[in-house]
Amino acid sequence: MHEPRIVAFFCNWCTYSASDLAGASRLVYDPGVRVIRVMCSGRVDPQFVLKALAEGADGVLIGGCHLGDCHYQDGNRKTLKRFRLLRPVLRQMGVEDERVRLEWISASEGHRLQEVLEEMAEDLRRLGPWRTGHGEKEAG
């Protein structure tokens, strides 16, 4: 069984704190998750998502504050706007919806974080590893 690798971009103020809370509460989630802390989910350039997939991630999770709760007022709205256009692009590239998710998880929702990560890991196990199959790597 392929053990999926998930790259998770968590906003400093909400989802990253939620992962801290999950840890302090001794909640267990999939060990294939690699958390990257960003100051705001609005910092997550769509290139980051594609780069993660291009370099071996099987899934990407972006975690931010609930709409209206952004530490920077509307950073997460920018995330949402980008995600709304990124999603159809990813579909056209053959990336299943389950592989790339945007979730609003507040600092108090450690349980919700565990739930999302477990769900993703299960989906990715079912979908198998991500690769586009563009053939042998060429020098250059």
């Binding site: 290139q47 291009a54 980008r82 709304r84 590239m93 053959g94 586009t132 199959g133 250059g140």
Partner: protein, 329 residues
């Protein structure tokens, strides 16, 4: 008999998966072409001169001063030719969008080779092919085996196949950039290897419409030139047209803008950007007006083919390079 050593630098022009527009760009040098031609010795130019592959093979390695190669790489024959030219050349210049980024032929990376062949030779309404004949790699005939070059699933940029020294962007590169590049090479006045030979500045910086850009850009409706006519003077983005100017390198002379056509991104990204389409997507999406999930989703849905729009010229050069290949049945 002692052979006199030719003093003029040898230059090759070659084309791969391309439309011929880049050849036009060379001819578009007009009178300047005569001046350039008098300073160089052309050793290969399939569209204009009758040199063959064996003529290139007969040259010493590194004998060609510079090869200008246009077009993306899709066929085994193209791969062989660009490898040969790389070996024979001191410098290789990727000429035009297709060699640089994959270009329009690169949009075939949304499909696989069998899908492309089936559509072009069988399913197109204008095709008359009752036996459903498809191109074959090799066919036995009474006269021997006939072969065709292999047609790969994935279109590649030139630098995904061979090392490239410089990139001349554009569909097609404008004459002033072409001439500037040729003169710099002849004079030995070369920038750092890997340079894109065009200013590292966004098109918006030199856009003739930049003063009409409002302080805050907000897009409430996504418009397309096929269904609406842009105002001839206002910023395209201000009116909701997808214009890739904010994320696209300048140097094109804003020919499209002058023709009332929004930028489609043929010059590719600026230095330091890994994925032109994603970078533009990021800029464009943040202009969409809407605060709740539902209205944003509705607005985003009005853009058909977002990947084909954002990656019109750069799909093979993008981070994912192509749509996921379906597993072989």
């Amino acid at each position: 008999m002692a052979k006199k050593k030719p003093a003029k630098p040898k230059v090759a022009f070659y084309w791969c998966a391309s439309c011929g527009g880049c050849e036009e760009a060379v001819v578009d040098l007009a009178e300047d072409l005569l001046d350039v031609a008098s300073k160089i010795e052309i050793v290969l130019w399939p569209v204009a001169l009758d040199f063959k592959r064996k003529d290139v093979e007969a040259l010493d390695d590194g004998a060609i001063a510079v090869s200008f190669i246009n077009g993306a790489v899709r066929l085994s024959e193209q791969e062989e030719m660009v490898r040969l030219l790389r070996r024979k050349s001191k410098l290789v210049v990727a000429f035009g969008s297709c060699a640089h980024l994959g270009g329009i032929p690169g949009l075939a990376n949304f499909s696989s080779a069998p899908e492309v062949l089936r559509y072009v030779y069988q399913d197109l309404p204008s095709v008359d092919n009752p036996e459903g004949t498809l191109p074959q790699g090799a066919v036995e005939t009474p006269h021997g085996t006939l072969t065709l070059p292999a047609f790969h699933d994935t279109v590649k940029t030139l630098d995904q196949v061979v090392e490239v020294d410089y990139f001349l962007p554009g569909c097609a590169p404008p004459p002033d950039l072409v001439l500037g590049a040729i003169e710099a090479i002849l004079a030995g006045n070369l920038p750092e290897k890997g340079t894109v030979l065009s200013p590292n500045m966004a098109l918006c910086d030199e856009c003739p419409r930049r003063d009409s850009k409002p302080e805050v850009l907000e897009i409430t409706e996504i418009k397309r030139v096929s269904t609406a006519t842009p105002d001839p003077e206002r910023c395209f983005l201000a009116d909701g047209f997808v214009c890739m100017g904010p994320a696209t390198r300048s140097g094109c002379g804003h020919r499209c803008i002058e023709a009332n056509m929004p930028c489609r991104g043929c010059f590719g990204p600026l230095d330091g950007v890994a994925d032109h389409g994603a970078k533009f997507l990021s800029a464009f999406a943040s202009l969409l007006k809407g605060d709740d999930e539902e209205s944003l989703a509705r607005l985003a849905e009005t853009l058909p083919d977002p990947a084909g729009t954002f990656y019109r010229f750069s799909l093979p050069a993008s981070l994912l390079r192509r749509r996921k290949m379906e597993e072989a049945p």
